[in-house]
């Protein structure tokens, strides 16, 4: 890739290379052959766009272009693999949700363990892969069956009534303070009587 680039350019392309490789690493693509095939494919496309946009004079760096290319490649692959009916069906709201739902589907079908060689590859795909990707969906909880839990009336009795009264005395802070002082006084007096 990027043959004939200058030293400065080769630094930025190295960053782009590292970014793309990291992303596929994050997708758990561990097979070196598959990985290098994907990385070079993405970088070639990114380089084409880079040159078309005027090279170093363009608005975007190779890293940005390469990362965008990863995104585009993934989305296109999901679209191609899953087809319109899938996107209109289980996958919500069409193509805008596709990257998220596609990544989740890859995770659900355990792509890194089972389908690495086919990942981002062109058709024809194994029927099982297509079917599993189309069937993949996530259930976080069953359908709600909303019901009510209503508090039954309960008379809590004298202790709670006393507590309620005490809390209602908040309006009369002086009275409350006086009662508290009285109780403390009584306790102190009682203790004194006991100990002497």
């Amino acid at each position: 890739m990027a043959s004939g680039t200058t030293t400065d350019e080769s630094d930025v392309w190295a960053e782009a290379y590292e970014r793309v490789e990291s992303y596929f690493g994050a997708m758990r693509v561990g097979n070196p052959l598959v990985l290098s095939r994907m990385v070079s494919r993405v970088l070639e496309e990114a380089e084409k766009r880079y040159r078309a946009a005027g090279g170093a004079a363009g608005e975007k760096t190779p890293t940005e272009l390469a990362a965008e290319e990863v995104d585009r490649t993934l989305e296109a692959w999901f679209y191609e693999l899953l087809g319109d009916d899938k996107i209109a069906g289980n996958f919500e709201e069409g193509r805008s949700q596709l990257p998220v739902e596609g990544r989740l589907a890859l995770s659900l079908i355990a792509m890194p363990q089972r389908w690495q060689a086919q990942f981002l590859d062109g058709p024809p795909w194994p029927e099982e892969l297509v079917q599993e990707m189309r069937d993949a969906y996530l259930i976080a909880g069953p359908e709600f069956q909303i019901a009510k839990m209503e508090r039954r009336p309960i008379e809590l009795g004298p202790v709670a009534a006393a507590a309620r009264t005490w809390s209602e005395l908040d309006k009369y802070r002086r009275v409350k303070q006086f009662i508290l002082l009285l109780l403390i006084g009584l306790f102190t007096w009682g203790s004194y009587l006991l100990l002497t």
Partner: protein, 705 residues
């Protein structure tokens, strides 16, 4: 509902009459002996107070002692619990049971390892299809939230359990655990006939889960069936002591408890099965009058829910003999104290409900028992201080005691000293008899004896545990007294997750800071006691030693090394250690595997941003609960421009600069989380915080997922 016959034998009314008569008789003996002591020496106002305190405290001891006595004879006579095993052919068709695992900022690896162990065990019974699992998260820590999702997904995928193990996070954790369960009931309760409530650390065998459902099916009046979770997996000396005591003494005490309570049982908050419909109909908790900590929401919901079910006429049973039910205990004294602090506040609230209309008498006894469990410590402290004052008064008066003859038959001619020894012996006897009975019960049973390491080892372990309890009792008395007083003075406690793993143990600094006050109290008390009356000093020395050595006891018993040393020597063994059940073995192995697996990426928020799969999972779950998280954002007063600012901060300055609140806001917005994943990967390195570059490089080619 099943039409099979009810297999629970109703406890005859005379069982509770007999039990409580025995409690009263034993209490009267102690109380009369104590009163007689004062009759002989002369009553003073302080003596009256001391006698009242002793009457309450000895009554409480007698209550505990009789549990062991009745339990011992019941087990020795081979009597079975009131609720019996269900016929094996009991069908489970036509309804489902939900297994609820409420979590709150827990370690996700531990939670899901436990769930996986239970799930696999249930699958082996062939009845797994009748159960659904719900992880009900109230987690407020943003990083743990993401980890929970990730671990849930991994567990589901590995077990092939998507659509069987569900995950739901609540946006607002109103009502804490009780509110979490109630929220489940409102959303899904109508789909299930039963729910089995777990704690975050609960493990149960599949056989037990199936048996619980069957027992509910054949007992249509049973609203709740509580199993007895055995403490397991302790590693520290403290944890192993606790575990050993609960495991060895539990069966005898619980046989006694089951004897008198019958269908008037209690709920302990987890490892229990509940009939959902009556629970939803009758168990919405009342709001207590007044302000927290004593008013407001009921904290210890379990006792109240059992009382409400009983009030509505539903039976609440204990299944003491049903094994396969486990939980973990606190690893050290400080964690135990933190837990007790919460429980203390919750139990003191129950005082408000003691006289609530419609509650059954035995429900009131359960509530009162919970209150007294903590208040008794304060009463003991007052009793000890009162006793010291009485000695001080007598010594400072310089009057010699002229003892009058005893009024109690059979005590004629007994010296005052011997009279005191008789009271002391009776009290100690009532305290230690249960331990002896439990030990004898194990020794007489060859199979059980073997699982505790043999007769000699179990006997030595009981001595060790008794010494440990004696050292621990004074500091617990102090702590519980402080908890009661601080709660009564309006100091509440927050909702903190429970620490269950041993970690590095408690440091000396932390122990001294935590127990400085009881240690100083012990030192001052020792000096004063010795100066006032050396004989009294020797009498109270065990209490004083416990107070003075509290920091040392805390540190030493928090060490895993000491726990393992005793284990290797064959002390404090429990059946779960000598013959580990498959569920606990599976849990242990799974935890080791998950924790030692190479980490593919940073955890928490960073992984939800960077990791393509974690991000996809998080965004999808957010979208499936869109309404809930929109509410959450509204609650936090979040706008689009605010989110944009936070996102920019996150990418350019790193996650460390965000407050937990800001992290939560980001995590609650599906669109932001979807776009942030793209943004972080597309941005050139110069515009990204170094942590992102480092994290990207961290994804190796052999990353595990």
């Amino acid at each position: 509902m099943a039409t099979t016959n009810n297999v629970a034998r109703m406890a005859p009314p005379w069982t509770k009459q007999l039990f409580f008569s025995c409690v009263v008789v034993l209490a009267i003996v102690g109380v009369v002996l104590f009163a007689d002591f004062f009759w002989r020496t002369g009553w003073s106002p302080l003596h009256r107070v001391l006698w009242c305190l002793y009457a309450v405290l000895f009554g409480y001891i007698a209550f505990g002692c009789m549990h062991a006595v009745f339990g011992f004879f019941r087990l020795r006579a081979g009597r079975r619990a009131w609720i019996s095993p269900a016929p094996p052919e009991t069908p489970l068709d036509g309804f489902s049971t939900a297994v609820l695992v409420p979590v709150y900022n827990e370690d996700p690896e531990r939670v899901f390892s436990g769930v996986a162990a239970v799930y696999e065990s249930l699958e082996k019974t062939g009845k797994g299809q009748h159960f659904d699992f719900f992880i009900l998260s109230d987690t407020t820590d943003p990083d743990k939230w993401v980890e929970e999702e990730r671990t849930w997904f991994r567990a589901c995928r590995n077990l092939g359990a998507l659509g069987r193990i569900f995950y739901r996070r609540r946006e607002r954790n109103e009502g804490k655990k009780a509110g979490n369960v109630a929220s489940f009931c409102r959303a899904w309760g109508k789909r299930y006939r039963y729910m089995i409530v777990f704690d975050a650390d609960s493990v149960m065998s599949g056989e037990t889960l199936v048996e619980m459902v069957k027992r509910m099916e054949v007992n249509p009046r049973c609203g709740l069936l509580q199993t007895v979770p055995a403490l397991a997996l302790a590693e520290t000396l403290f944890g192993r002591m606790f575990q050993f005591a609960a495991r060895l003494y539990g069966p005898v005490f619980l046989a006694g408890l089951d004897y008198w309570q019958g269908a008037n049982g209690n709920y302990w908050g987890h490892n229990a099965i509940i009939r959902v419909a009556p629970f939803m109909e009758h168990c919405e908790l009342p709001v207590l009058p007044g302000k927290p900590p004593l008013g407001g929401q009921v904290l210890s919901h379990d006792f109240v829910e059992a009382a409400l079910l009983r009030r509505a006429g539903w039976d609440v049973w204990l299944a003491p003999e049903l094994g396969g039910s486990y939980e973990e205990g606190p690893p050290d004294l400080i964690e135990a104290a933190k837990r007790d602090r919460r429980w203390c506040q919750g139990n003191l609230q129950h005082a408000m409900l003691l006289l609530a209309q419609g509650f059954r008498g035995l429900s009131r006894i359960h509530l009162a028992n919970g209150v007294l469990g903590y208040v008794a410590s304060l009463l003991w402290l007052l009793f000890m201080l009162g006793g010291f004052s009485a000695v001080w008064q007598r010594v400072s008066s310089e009057l010699s005691i002229i003892a009058l003859p005893s009024r109690v038959p059979g005590m004629d001619g007994v010296s005052l000293q011997h009279h005191g020894i008789a009271i002391f012996s009776l009290t100690m006897g009532a305290l230690f008899l249960p331990k002896i009975l439990c030990l004898v019960d194990v020794i007489l049973d060859r199979d059980r004896r073997r699982t505790y390491g043999g007769a000699v080892k179990v006997a030595l372990s009981v001595i060790l545990e008794t010494l440990f309890s004696a050292l621990l009792a004074p500091v617990l008395m102090w702590l519980h007294s402080c908890f009661v007083v601080s709660t009564l003075f309006g100091k509440g406690v927050g909702w903190a997750p429970q620490k269950r793993d041993a970690g590095q143990g408690v440091s000396w600094g932390v122990a001294f800071l935590s127990f400085m006050v009881p240690m100083l109290l012990g030192l001052v008390w020792s000096v004063l006691a010795y100066r006032v009356e050396p004989l009294y000093f020797y009498w109270v020395l065990p209490v004083l030693i416990g107070l003075i050595l509290a920091p040392a006891v805390c540190v030493i018993t928090s060490r895993t090394s000491w726990g393992q040393r005793f284990r290797r020597a064959g002390f404090l063994l429990t059946p779960e250690e000598t013959e580990p059940p498959v569920e606990l073995l599976a849990l242990d192995n799974r935890e080791v595997v998950e924790r030692t697996a190479p980490l593919a990426a940073p955890g928490g928020l960073a992984s939800a941003v960077l990791d393509p799969y974690v991000n996809a999972l998080h965004v999808t779950l957010l979208r499936s609960h869109k309404m809930a998280f929109d509410t959450e954002k509204e609650l936090h007063g979040c706008t689009a421009s605010h989110l944009k600012t936070i996102t920019e901060k996150l990418l350019s300055e790193g996650s460390g600069v965000l407050t937990p609140h800001e992290r939560m806001l980001l995590l609650c917005d599906a669109d932001t989380m979807a776009s942030i994943h793209r943004d972080v990967w597309v941005r050139p390195a110069a515009k990204l915080a170094p942590e992102w570059i480092k994290a990207m490089r961290g994804y190796s080619r052999h990353a595990q997922y």
